[in-house]
Symmetry: C2
Subunit: 365 residues, 2 copies
Amino acid sequence: MRFEIDGGDPHSLARAWRLYTAHGVLKTPVFIASATHATIKGLAPEEVAHAGIQVVAVNGYHLWLRPGIEVIREAGGVHRFMNWKRPILSDSGGFQVFSLARSRTITRKGVRFQSHIDGSPKFMTPESSIEAQNALGTDIAMIFDECVAYPATREYVQASVELTLQWAKRSKAAHSNPHQHLFGIVQGGAFEDLRRRSAEETVKIGFPGYALGGLSVGEPQEEMLRVIQATVPYLPEDRPRYVMGVGTPADMLACLRLGIDIFDCVLPNKNARHGTLFTSEGVLKIKNARFRTDQRPLDADCDCDACRKYTRAYLRHLWMAEEPFGARLLTLHNLRHYARFMERVREAIVAGTLSRMHVAEGRAD
Amino acid sequence: MRFEIDGGDPHSLARAWRLYTAHGVLKTPVFIASATHATIKGLAPEEVAHAGIQVVAVNGYHLWLRPGIEVIREAGGVHRFMNWKRPILSDSGGFQVFSLARSRTITRKGVRFQSHIDGSPKFMTPESSIEAQNALGTDIAMIFDECVAYPATREYVQASVELTLQWAKRSKAAHSNPHQHLFGIVQGGAFEDLRRRSAEETVKIGFPGYALGGLSVGEPQEEMLRVIQATVPYLPEDRPRYVMGVGTPADMLACLRLGIDIFDCVLPNKNARHGTLFTSEGVLKIKNARFRTDQRPLDADCDCDACRKYTRAYLRHLWMAEEPFGARLLTLHNLRHYARFMERVREAIVAGTLSRMHVAEGRAD
């Protein structure tokens, strides 16, 4: 995976790269917005791009079940299907098989489960996951891994790390899309020595980028940071590093200081749907009665359409009336907040001022 | 209400006018899109305007209950509140008081009822409805009327016509917004003589425009057309005529041939939310399995974003996955279909070719 280096923070491991993909450049650190079902909750692709989102993530498990990979293959890939022209990452579906599917049976060969949509029996293997991702035509694909619940016993995690290593090899062997980069995933739960083994063996298999999986699954932030700090030294300096499922702006800031380049999280979308907004002054709950006649924008420091064109009073009204335009505007705002946060982080890394950055996290409403 | 005449159909009573309002010109025949809660289901105002919608209708009853008229007054009126720059009509809330509210008691003074949202007791009178609409700052307001259910006895309708005439006088007396046109409403159910009395007496009170209410409430189309045909002769030639709650394109075409200029209906929005689309080839149900891999646009003859940027396969996927972007695109399409239909009708009236127009209505799938 070709990349260029724009800068590095002198006081931490944070770095600013340009990663080249078949659908354009990713300027890191980068946040991947969730487009699970090949759509970003209520938003048009051009709005998401305009908000500064560089890349979205679709989900192999969900698209495999619905509409079915062949539907997207016939459309000429997921870019054309959803009309998003920038890079797309696909998750293997591993996480969803373990978090959503019913009646799961794991064997060395793969995972037998029932669809969470209609209960129909399914069998997913590293080969079928990679074949699906090849057909999606995403720019970055992920190996099929086992994502272990938190907390888990050392014995379980140890066996799981070995299984994921086997699946990583099979994923790489099955991968056949030359325009797509297949990333490895390091597992190992909260056990530093297992993380090390997983990292070293995954790197031996060899991938253009490495993810840390099984984090942000309920553990305290300091434990997550401890695991990242213990794992990063075993990942190559010249490959992008991706922590899956992270997180708040504060989480991302802490992680990227440890050398992480890529993040993805459903949080800005999900919080928006729950009326919880990230703003330059902290978190705001739009349903709060004190916004009833508030003629100010959501965030005076934000340039998104929700902030430029509407008042808190109107956004609260849409929210209270459960009008879909409300969730749409709030999602747009949160994504713009994330994109701007990453833009500012990147500027700070390049300027060497990252150590002065902090995040207004608290102050609800 | 100032207007200019652009044309009239030589073979029917259809006419093409320009009606002047405080927020711009309405080219008739015109379809008013529903923006009940001061938003058009999932769409941004600029998208709705771009789709060719000239005017939207907000609902006095709904906005009175939530967010409350004072919230919108403080915002400087409903145009600024919802950021829609074109004309807005407000319904008095009469229809909703009779269709939605609970424990309704009608007196000469007004209607006592319970909010359908929280059950709280409310009392709406012609004066309070008009005061609310004055504060909303809409371009066209409607008198507060009693909307009778269908079918109803002659005795009930007769008494109701008299009540609505009293309320029409009080509505006019209470009206105090010089930038707003207050329209009268003709009632009378299916009884032609009562419609005539209602029309003649309402015209005596004197309004800049006249609506026919209590239609499209379950009666057969031919009965609706019979009532319209029997009523129009008692309405002044030089005032706009508005049939409330109508309808399909075929309904509107039939009505405007009888001299109706203005229509409003929730149908394009509601059908879109149910996956039912108006197209140039008839009605299409997006959930139909035969669209699963259909790479064609919804309607090759339509220029809306849903048709220009997405396939039937993708729209069906969004629909099946219950993704909000699906309802958004389908609503946009139906509104564009309505707007284009009215544009074509108008061109045909001006060109004298309206008699050749027909509507592809059937062909569901």
